[in-house]
Subunit: 354 residues, 2 copies
Amino acid sequence: MAKKTVGISDVAREAGVSVGTVSNSFNRPDSVAPETRARILAVVERLGYVRSESARQLRTGTSRIVALLVLDLANPFFVEVANGAERAARAAGLGVMVCTSAQSPSEEAEYIGLFTEQQVRGVLVIPADPTGHSLEPLRRQRIPYVVVDRLVQDAEVCSVSVDDVVGGRLAVEHLLTQGHRRIAYISGPPHLQQIRDRRTGALDAIAAAGLPPETLHELPTAHMTIAAGRDAAARLLGLADRPTAVFCANDLLALGLEQALYAAGVKVPEEVAIVGYDDIEFASAVAVPLTSVRQPAAEMGRLAAQMLLAEADAPGEDGSENGSQNGGKSRHEHRAVVLQPELVVRTSSLHRVG
Amino acid sequence: MAKKTVGISDVAREAGVSVGTVSNSFNRPDSVAPETRARILAVVERLGYVRSESARQLRTGTSRIVALLVLDLANPFFVEVANGAERAARAAGLGVMVCTSAQSPSEEAEYIGLFTEQQVRGVLVIPADPTGHSLEPLRRQRIPYVVVDRLVQDAEVCSVSVDDVVGGRLAVEHLLTQGHRRIAYISGPPHLQQIRDRRTGALDAIAAAGLPPETLHELPTAHMTIAAGRDAAARLLGLADRPTAVFCANDLLALGLEQALYAAGVKVPEEVAIVGYDDIEFASAVAVPLTSVRQPAAEMGRLAAQMLLAEADAPGEDGSENGSQNGGKSRHEHRAVVLQPELVVRTSSLHRVG
DNA sequence: GATGGGTATTGAATCGATTCAATGCCTCGA
DNA sequence: TCGAGGCATTGAATCGATTCAATACCCATC
């Protein structure tokens, strides 16, 4: 019976060299004579040899894939983040393993466990568990990770996020400028930091305009989905003194709202103006295109991946390393990068009142 | 200096047993005495031991992750497929590596190469390369794979797809029933089998109604995106004898079309009726909800993953295997599963003409 | 002809878990 | 008391590539 797979030793034998030389011709090509290398590559081609990553990884201790754990691929915002990250990683010759935690801390923990067993090169994570507890195994195993879409001040970890206070301010400033004086905030789960930050920004704008905080009327929702947006519309229409404008914590909510308002015969933006958040592609694809706070999602993914790779290539952080080849100066510094959002004005908010 | 990571031998020493016993307590728990096992697990906990997948994989020859290669995560349809597949794989204790080929055969080939090096358990692939050439390495390495969203008659490979002829027929039958006699087909790249199949179904319906093939007016597009849908709207409105109904090859096209028609003041469905394809979530979330041909995307992903796992667990297909423990009867049979689409009628097509 | 220096190649040790034949121990029945 | 048989455990071989100190070889120089 034939041997199952062709290994490096088969190539070596067939090419009349040692396994070391075959390995070298892959990993340090210029340390082997051109003609030898050519001969080896020919044999590789002929035998259809592919090297075993598991063996390679066992020896070198590090794999060639990075993991990306997002909350939910159903939200195009996260897809964009994933795309940015994937491109950056591919450019560095690494594969990306995209997984979804479905916002569940336990799923998150399970995946983190899988990643540590795989000894992935690093992890990009949008945390579902606010305590950060589920990331503990990564710290223990010294697997570098970068927190995405959440600000972490820790100084023990890198993070890339977008300034949500600014985003909330931009949205509400715009609505105030349009003359609105009663503004609803369809927010989402109140325990999310982002929801709170955007509210803070909204209230900042209101205070700056010399208006009372009651100007903002918050309508929390359990989920940030299209369906939740529809539900919120009903609540909005039931309000005694109906707001003339709505700031939604993401575009899915805004789309659901806009649809429900249309169905109820309420004109957007004439009767109710809407501002969304994220600026997903679909926001600009509906009949009344949505004004939205644009987050640089792809950029966030790209940056996060680059920071991760930088950390993975840099020496670790226990002091025992100095005196080695790099004079300590290139030791990795954890950074918390905060990107700036941007308001994209479209039809859904283009109507002056008052 | 402390040893980098804690390995199975550290656990063994600390627990006063041999490495074999530690390994056993993970892989065949009931072959080891309960109290021994408890002692070992306690040590594992205390030392924070995580087993090395690379070592495990090197020995056993197979990994615990399956790869999923889709064309484009920006289309929610593929996201749904991915979700179905991921859930099924997770249920079997496997991780999923989701990657996007961006419709590029060369990217596809690169990823396939990565997968073979990783010796993944199996690959689910929505092929970008119509020749199937880029999948060759999988065959050589005997890595099981299932083709998703494409019908493959090959009998050398499993596939899961949806009947596009039926889908096209359903869409156009519906429009004919509504009284339409001039129907546009905004299609997409003509070289895609799916585009052709849907056209075939559309023409079937027209023939069955005793109408001439000219009833269908095809408007091909280079891409199947929202932007392409907008462009197609302009072409549609420029037609001499403007169709009263449009069948779009996917929902992105349909959404772009609907938006552009709204902007041009053309009423949907009164002046132009629209039927989309895929029934993504956003199709039902716009002001005039979209009638669409629903594909069981999650089901397709789920089924594909299950078929893949079945194949991965079954013996290979070279005849040399018989006489072994399984009497040959459980040998894997390649199947081409074809699922049925379903028409979901919404407002965008609900208007009788003629 | 000897010496030195550079380049190309070798081969054995190593990474960490799995596997399985061999061993040890214990109990129960004859 | 002895032996059979079952259960728990051992430990050495193994997977396949990487790595590096050692070696071999060649050419230039003195």
